[in-house]
């Protein structure tokens, strides 16, 4: 873990709410190794109402350019300010934080399900899995076509399936309605997105006996295990999402109880 100033090298709006922000370390030193599922804590400056840092997943690590990618959705003042950053701005990060998704021992068929901005960590995960020779399938869900982000990036690393609630892109309905869930066989499912979606995915995985990991977005104060605010009630008791998560095997969670 480090506290480090980065420089914003680009900030691209992907739709009316989501921005892809690429940053490089200000001192240009090589970044430490990072793993899919890990996140950063962003310091939000210039805001009268934002006091705490904001947690954001690692969307991609571009080693060639020493770039870190962040996919950020505007939901409140913190993410609003982050989405307003301009090229050249300094962004202070604590990183890398949290555990990471499990890479199964055996090369196998994986399904990465992301809903909304929950697709963010799936890109980095898919990339790593594909580099290691796994069969990678992405299932991305949104309300409407414009919610499906970074599709050309995803296509580099695996098959991409989509659902939209209004049917404007991919199949109509929720991710768990997609036909590949009926037609294809998967060995490992990863999911990140709104809780109802993740619960539905978890139910599916349990019903099929498939290993499944979910990435949680609990409210955090510190992000590195010091405050005990971000706990998730698990079969092992209250556990910190920021250090022992954000990735949990769904068997650990008490969601389906």
């Amino acid at each position: 873990m480090k506290v480090l100033d980065f420089i914003v090298c680009s900030n691209e709006p992907l739709n009316d709410q989501n921005h892809l922000i690429k940053v490089v370390p200000a001192n240009n030193e090589p970044m430490p190794e990072m793993f899919p599922g890990q996140f950063v804590q962003i310091l939000v400056k210039n805001s009268p109402n934002v006091f705490l840092r904001r947690p954001v997943s690692i969307n991609n690590v571009d080693l060639a350019n020493n770039e870190l990618w962040l996919l950020v959705k505007r939901v409140g003042e913190g993410t609003e300010k982050i989405c307003k950053s301009s090229t050249g701005d300094i962004m202070n990060l604590i990183f890398p934080l949290g555990n990471s998704f499990t890479i199964p021992e055996e090369k196998c068929t994986t399904l990465l399900i992301g809903g909304g901005v929950g697709t963010a960590p799936m890109l980095f995960l898919g990339k790593k899995l594909s580099e290691k020779g796994y069969n990678v399938n992405f299932l991305l869900g949104g309300r409407t076509a414009s919610d499906i982000l970074q599709i050309t990036d995803f296509e580099k690393y695996g098959n991409v399936y989509c659902t939209t609630e209004d049917g404007s892109f991919g199949e109509i309905g929720f991710v768990t309605d997609h036909t590949i869930l009926q037609n294809n066989k998967f060995d490992f499912i990863y999911t990140c997105g709104p809780k109802p979606m993740m619960v539905a995915v978890a139910k599916y995985a349990v019903s099929k006996g498939i290993e499944c990991e979910a990435s949680l977005e609990n409210l955090m104060a510190c992000g590195f295990g010091a405050c005990l605010c971000c706990i998730e009630k698990t079969v092992r008791g209250n556990i910190c999402t920021c250090t022992e998560g954000p990735v949990f095997n769904i068997k650990e969670l008490t969601w389906l109880d």
């Binding site: 109402n49 409210l219 104060a221 010091a226 005990l228 971000c230 706990i231 008791g237």
Partner: protein, 303 residues
């Protein structure tokens, strides 16, 4: 170069900057960020006799210049601390002080007794002011009698430096300070968090699972400084001041108001290196003002 050493009870601190209980884990959480040996001391997470799961999620809400928490003293209990955590941290080159909580006087006493046996544990901080537990906790800290009673009981079994942490949720914090001084405390630390709450207006639900929680951060600083000043004018034992300290300027303000040492709390979450920056800032201030020892600044507000 100005002298930064301060003394609380029998205990020497290499500098007045320590970190507040519940915001600094067991120190280890910060070892990637700073040299823990640079600190005057570390007040580790609130420890109770029995393990506690703490309160349900959500435990946190952001507020203007601060935050509410309702952690509820989640910890694995004093025995786990002694057997598993203490060995890991005892050799840090700084003062490690355990923050002790309980629901009954016996809880406090037994926990203190166990800690008294540890070689490298020179002091405890008695938390009679936690607003986040149903029983005990803050209730001890809001009356002079119960505050004095629990202090006296622990004093009788704990021969090392005894710091009592006061609640700000009282009409007169200086009366409570006087009571615990009379009961044998070597020092008082203040303030713990203010009881507050926040409501999500769309769901109409409280933002904390426990409805109310503890407010901390820069928002409370003006009240905390006032309380330090009041207590400084009332008791003779040294004060460890805290409440919203986020930079060296804040630290100097608490020292001028009467704090011999200070604790950095919530701000560690925003800048995990804040405490060491504060040490440097204090040093520069002292040099610039030609003050040879930080102790010469304690309570030296000009009136």
């Amino acid at each position: 170069m100005a002298g930064l050493e301060v003394q609380i009870g029998d205990l020497k601190f290499k500098n007045p900057v320590t970190t507040a209980s519940g915001t600094f884990g067991y120190g280890t959480e910060y070892k990637d960020f700073i040299d823990l040996g640079a600190l005057g001391g570390i007040f580790v997470k609130g420890t109770t006799l029995e393990p506690r799961q703490g309160n349900d999620y959500p435990r946190m809400a952001e507020t203007p210049s601060g935050m509410l928490n309702a952690v509820g003293l989640q910890n694995k209990g004093v025995d786990y601390f002694i057997n598993h955590l203490y060995p890991e941290i005892k050799d840090y080159d700084t003062n490690i002080i355990v923050n002790v909580s309980g629901s009954t006087i016996e809880d406090y006493v037994t926990t203190a007794e166990k800690l008294a046996d540890l070689d490298k544990m020179p002091a405890i901080e008695l938390n009679i002011s936690c607003p986040n537990v149903k029983e005990g906790g803050m209730s001890f800290g809001v009356s002079c009698e119960s505050a004095a009673k629990v202090t006296r009981a622990v004093r009788d079994v704990f021969p090392k430096t005894l710091i009592v942490k006061l609640s700000p949720n009282v009409t007169s914090i200086s009366e409570i300070a006087l009571a615990v001084e009379g009961a044998g405390a070597d020092s008082v630390s203040l303030v713990n968090t203010f009881l507050g709450m926040a409501i999500d207006i769309e769901s109409k639900k409280p933002k904390l699972s426990t409805i109310t929680g503890g407010l901390s951060g820069p928002c409370i600083k003006p009240i905390a400084v006032r309380m330090v000043w009041e207590v400084y004018n009332t008791v003779k034992i040294p004060i460890i001041g805290m409440g919203g300290i986020s930079n060296w300027q804040d630290a100097i303000e608490f020292i001028l108001a009467g704090s011999t040492a200070i604790q950095v709390g919530t701000y560690n979450f925003i800048d995990p290196t804040a405490s060491v920056k504060i040490i440097e800032g204090i040093e520069e201030y002292l040099d610039r003002h030609r003050i040879t020892s930080v102790t010469d600044l304690v309570g030296q507000m000009r009136i």
